[in-house]
Subunit: 215 residues, 4 copies
Amino acid sequence: MTQTVLPTFINLPLAKQEKIVAAALAEFADKGYQQASINVMVASSGIAKGSMYQYFKDKKGIFLYIFDFAISLVRRTLVQVKETTQEADFFTRLEKSLLAGVEFIRQHPRIYAIYLKILFDQHVPQRPQLLKAVRQFAAEYFQSLVRQGLERGEIRADLPGPVATFLLDALFDRFLQATCVPFFDVTLGLDQAPPEEIEHRVKELIDLLRQGLAS
Amino acid sequence: MTQTVLPTFINLPLAKQEKIVAAALAEFADKGYQQASINVMVASSGIAKGSMYQYFKDKKGIFLYIFDFAISLVRRTLVQVKETTQEADFFTRLEKSLLAGVEFIRQHPRIYAIYLKILFDQHVPQRPQLLKAVRQFAAEYFQSLVRQGLERGEIRADLPGPVATFLLDALFDRFLQATCVPFFDVTLGLDQAPPEEIEHRVKELIDLLRQGLAS
Amino acid sequence: MTQTVLPTFINLPLAKQEKIVAAALAEFADKGYQQASINVMVASSGIAKGSMYQYFKDKKGIFLYIFDFAISLVRRTLVQVKETTQEADFFTRLEKSLLAGVEFIRQHPRIYAIYLKILFDQHVPQRPQLLKAVRQFAAEYFQSLVRQGLERGEIRADLPGPVATFLLDALFDRFLQATCVPFFDVTLGLDQAPPEEIEHRVKELIDLLRQGLAS
Amino acid sequence: MTQTVLPTFINLPLAKQEKIVAAALAEFADKGYQQASINVMVASSGIAKGSMYQYFKDKKGIFLYIFDFAISLVRRTLVQVKETTQEADFFTRLEKSLLAGVEFIRQHPRIYAIYLKILFDQHVPQRPQLLKAVRQFAAEYFQSLVRQGLERGEIRADLPGPVATFLLDALFDRFLQATCVPFFDVTLGLDQAPPEEIEHRVKELIDLLRQGLAS
DNA sequence: AATGAATGAGAATTCATTCAT
DNA sequence: GATGAATGAATTCTCATTCAT
């Protein structure tokens, strides 16, 4: 893997780095990879166009850096959720995780938007690797939850593990999409719902899962 | 609503229409709305650039026509599934529906790809309306299944209907995505799975649902 | 000179001819020669595009026909003015002529617009000939008025004839332009003036001429 | 008023600026706004197509810049004429002004051509404003001449001021058109006349005016 | 005679990338 | 290291003209 962020960028004052990252993040989130305009990024971060090419090899380089930045934020957040819910029972952990997801998207909507863009755009550079990184991460998270739930006897022992993991992953991902993709969810109307209604729906969903999965 | 397909196109020999639709469908499915190139479409359908504009008002017009074409195919398919499974019990109907979905995507992968592109691209023309059309349709499908399941006493009476519908919709949509979006599903690996494995996974998933929802 | 109107057009029912002429006239008057769109003409006259080419050799042919149509209307009108004012004195004839011009433009604004377009567009086909036809006509009109005025002793005998003709031509043309070209005339504001004000200005102008030219 | 010339253009070496201005001026003067081709401009100024868009926002921006450039040249010239003839009597000033006009057009024929194009093309961007700028300027010039002529008692006191101004404006404008618009003037044939003949005609015209307007 | 589909050159504009200063 | 001007290929769309039906 050749270098895509150049050391020049790393040596930049943090404030400048942040400005550039914010601009690029916003543009990629809004338009997707191909459609994102470097012109827009440099204009809104107040740097010269040539400078962008001092910091990154090319458009791909910018994108990969932004992606790295984003995923490590996700990772840090999820690790923290995992740790702070260590002691809770399986279904409580699920609930806390889902609420944490909702909160994360509320605070970093652009990061989630980029993930969604990558998901369905075949032409994003290195899409397979990037996607694998995210999906693997999510899968492992749910696997570990399910494994612990089984060990503690909180969920039925006869479950086919992978399918259960799939189910959790699917429901959670879709729930999050429903909260932030306009016009997507017509069943619960989550994209327009106030926080307290979302929390209520989280509880309902977890209850439903409990009825299906609890031992 | 102004006209976007011109009569010229409708009067074309069917073979030519199909070639053009195929080319446009392929391009939109591959690249999304903005990134799709009319140049590519005309090249691969073997017509002159100007001709495209005899057939459609503009790029948006091509897109909307393709979308209409796609959604009416989906609708016809789903209606047929609904009718042929009229007599079956709730969970069997679910299974049949999901299998039909898998089959539809196998036969029309590009249509599903376009739907996914619309879903997450804020800049698709008339996205709200288009999306509403699709999502409403799906929601009603599941609602009617759930309603009938309740009436027949096949599923638990204490279910919060909307959440159950949401759950079905989410699981099915995600299952379908898993079968056709490369690198998306790392849990079951459905995107690379042979038909018989997919059928097996369908059964497992339906079983899981049965355990959670059956009365 | 090769044929540009084809006999096909001449054989058309008059109503159809008129519709086509009206549409072409409107389009050329609005946009000028190059910028005028045959598409627009056929759309607004309700005929097929191919038919236009049955009637005229090409765009140039349409234009030349329209021009001929227009100039013969002008000619007929001016001849009539000349005849009906035969007996009046020089300055009365001037006044009547100018008022007739104002009236003509009020009734056929598009014809005057086409003339103005030709005047300053080097790329109008056959511009030299067309322009000569119009200008010669106007010049002769004023020359004959001046000649008669001299013969009758109504205007000073020491006038350099050509310059006087030039002066009349210039004033009249500009006065007409002032009444119909928006934003052109900021001195008298004739483009927005009601008929009675225009008539008043005509009188003033003729008075001024009388003071300068009368014997 | 949004920016239309970009600073990039202003920072260019003067020689390059001039080449581009010359090319654009020539093209607009020849074809008018709509029909002028940016392709032609860049080809004849030897720059890349994309560069034009570094210099100007869009075609309108090029045009407005050229117009500004042109009108300020006109203004400077006329101001100078006014100042250097301060002491002369009314009719001498008229003569000097007209001669200066003739000379200006001889040296900058394209600028006058652009003015004429704007005059009669309804679709020129910002035509009302542009036209107002030019016409107001001309009107004020003649008004101030007439006013001074009246104050000094060089012209008749009973003249209706606006009509006199109109007359001067009309005659001068038309005289200038006659010298540079081919085939326009068939009375005096000024478009083909040698300088000394034009000067002679100027004298004749001024004499005629003197006879009509002098006190 | 009437039609209208087919064509392709040309229009304005955008954009990632390079490179001299 | 920072700059921003230069580039040219790509984009969508228009239009006069031809020609088979």
